[in-house]
Amino acid sequence: MKVPIQKLTDLGLGVFNWVDDRLHVKKIWESTAGHHVPQSAGSWFYVFGSATLLCFMLQLVTGIMLALVYVPSADEAYATLEYLTYHQQLGWFLRAMHYWGSDFMVGIMLLHMTQVYLFGAYKYPREITWLSGLALLVCTLGLAFTGQVMRFDEDAYWGLGIGASIMGRVPFIGQQLVDFMLGGQIIASETLSRFFALHVFVLPGAVIALVSLHLRMVLTKGINEYPVPGMLVRRETYDKEYAAILKKEGVPFFPKAIDKDIITSAFVIGGIVACAFFFGPKGPGGPADPLQINANPRPDFWFLWIFSIAALMPAEIETFALLVGPAVVGLILVALPFLNGTGEKSWRRRPVAVIVTLLVWISLGILTYLGTTSPWSPVMNAWSAEVTPDAQILHRTPLQLQGAITLQYKQCRNCHAIEGLGGERGPSLSDVGMRLTKPQLVRQVVQGGGNMPAYGQNLSPSEVEALVAYMITLRAEGVPPARDVTLSRNTKN
């Protein structure tokens, strides 16, 4: 049979022309994908925006998949989570994709923001691009937090409690804000429904709207040219200069400048799939059952730094810092394109910008690391579970051995480690006998202080004696016990 190729081509072309005539597909394509960008913008540094968008689209798909099974009811959410994870065919993989997709999305978005800041892309005339980006950041972090609530395990439950506790610190309307956030006076079914609505309707909708605005701005005001040190932005001349750049070296985004975005997108998807495949989904941990008081709640990765800040901040400034801090940071970010909207774009000539960026990333890194180890948290079962190395038990008197038992029994090791075993809230006791004299040890144990509770009420005199007698023996071999230098000087005089 002879295929009438010519006829088929004509038919196809006819259909296309008809559709194009009605929908103006060609025109729309040319003015969007085909819009001209400076050739210098086809750089590896310019791939993060599209990669973030890609993550979002992936989240939409995997999210819809999960919603096919998930039930947003306090009574059943956890059961459907377990069903998804352990029984539904490939449910674990979809959950893992959604979990890692969100981690990737936040991470890449932060990279995008860093790049935009360092390349001065927020300056004139792209203020609204920057502002819509900030709104997207807020929405994305909101999606990440509400997504953690969807898991409705103990981390979700107590995470909501933390959010409510922060709200409760707001003056005057704290109570109303707590009730507003929880959809009631306590964390319960309405809380989950509320966060579900945010996570699947409100926030994704807001992101789609904001992305549209964000991309619209890219089309109207153009993509930032690769900054050249010394080329300053002036409000009066920039538009003309940008037009000149486009005229001289402008290329259509598709197909001339999209190559690196496409390569990146493959790697991003590959990365998410690989993480999902190799590391799987997170949790669910214990159920959102408040009676399960052995919970050890930890936030998801991108909120660990907040968890650390909450632990490390002095109690006196905490309320102020928790409420005013985010407002100040937000204000600075919003004001940035207006206060610093012109001048040098290249990071090579903006040392302050580089230092600020480095400081922010290093702080976030350190805080996140601390959040994963959380040295400030007592190790709740250290007292009954952690062993003591033989060297710290052998050759002790019966009294000192009773001190060793008292040290366990009174839960000292929940906060104090011996040879690395135990809590890290307080200093290690491995060499405490070299640091503190007997009177100092007695004082510290009985009166507490320096963030240690006073044990005076809970220790009998004999327990104090035994405990201190034992702790004095905790020192490196051959090292004498600590002695009071002021006392020895006094005796000389």
């Binding site: 306090a74 933390i162 006076q185 632990a311 309320t319 007592p378 709740m380 906060c415």
Partner: protein, 190 residues
């Protein structure tokens, strides 16, 4: 829409009569303006009719009074004197679809006789569940390391105050507490 406004500046322009743009019929103009004002006004009313109930629905927490109710923790005898034990109760305002979130734990310290202290499980710092350690007579928080003494006073760590307490009463040999809300710093007397 853009195209329209680009192409038809004359008809849509407010009637600023200039030599180059011919004026509309003044009668026609006032009618048009009236219709527009009427339309906007009607929509404002319609918007309020939709918007006010909507806002009232979403922000109901700002209008509703904060309420608590008495719940039974169990017979007084359940709690040995001089000890602190975990109690639990059903949230008085729970819904049938609350699942496990309807059951709320609390720490009950029976000092002696009918002298009690009933503490919320939530740390005063950021609401994590504190755990009681009988041996060292301390409550410890797993999140940021807050610690409290037996009587609920802050012992160490970031909490800005002692543990929240419930109001209690003894009724017919039963220990009852006034409960139904997540304790936060917004409640000064808890």
């Amino acid at each position: 829409m853009n195209q329209e406004s680009d192409q038809a500046p004359i008809t849509d322009a407010p009637c600023a009569c200039s030599p180059s743009t011919p004026c509309e019929d003044p009668k026609k103009k006032t009618r048009r303006e009236f219709m527009l004002a009427l339309g906007l006004g009607l929509n404002a009313i319609a918007g309020a009719a939709v918007g006010i109930p909507l806002l009232g629905y979403v922000f109901s927490s700002f209008l509703k009074p904060h309420e608590l109710d008495w719940v039974i923790l169990g017979s007084v005898e359940k709690f040995p004197e001089g000890k602190t034990r975990l109690g639990n109760y059903k949230n008085p305002f729970h819904r049938s679809w609350d699942g496990s979130t309807a059951d709320i734990p609390c720490w009950v310290r029976r000092i002696k006789g009918n002298e009690f202290q009933v503490f919320a499980i939530n740390c005063a710092h950021l609401g994590c569940p504190v755990r009681w350690f009988e041996e060292s007579k301390l409550f410890m928080c797993p999140c940021h390391g807050g610690a409290y003494y037996e009587d609920g006073e802050r012992a160490a760590g970031p909490p800005p105050r002692g543990l929240y307490t419930y109001e209690f009463k003894i009724d017919n040999g039963n220990l009852m507490i006034l409960a139904g809300a997540l304790p936060t710093l917004a409640q000064p007397n808890a």
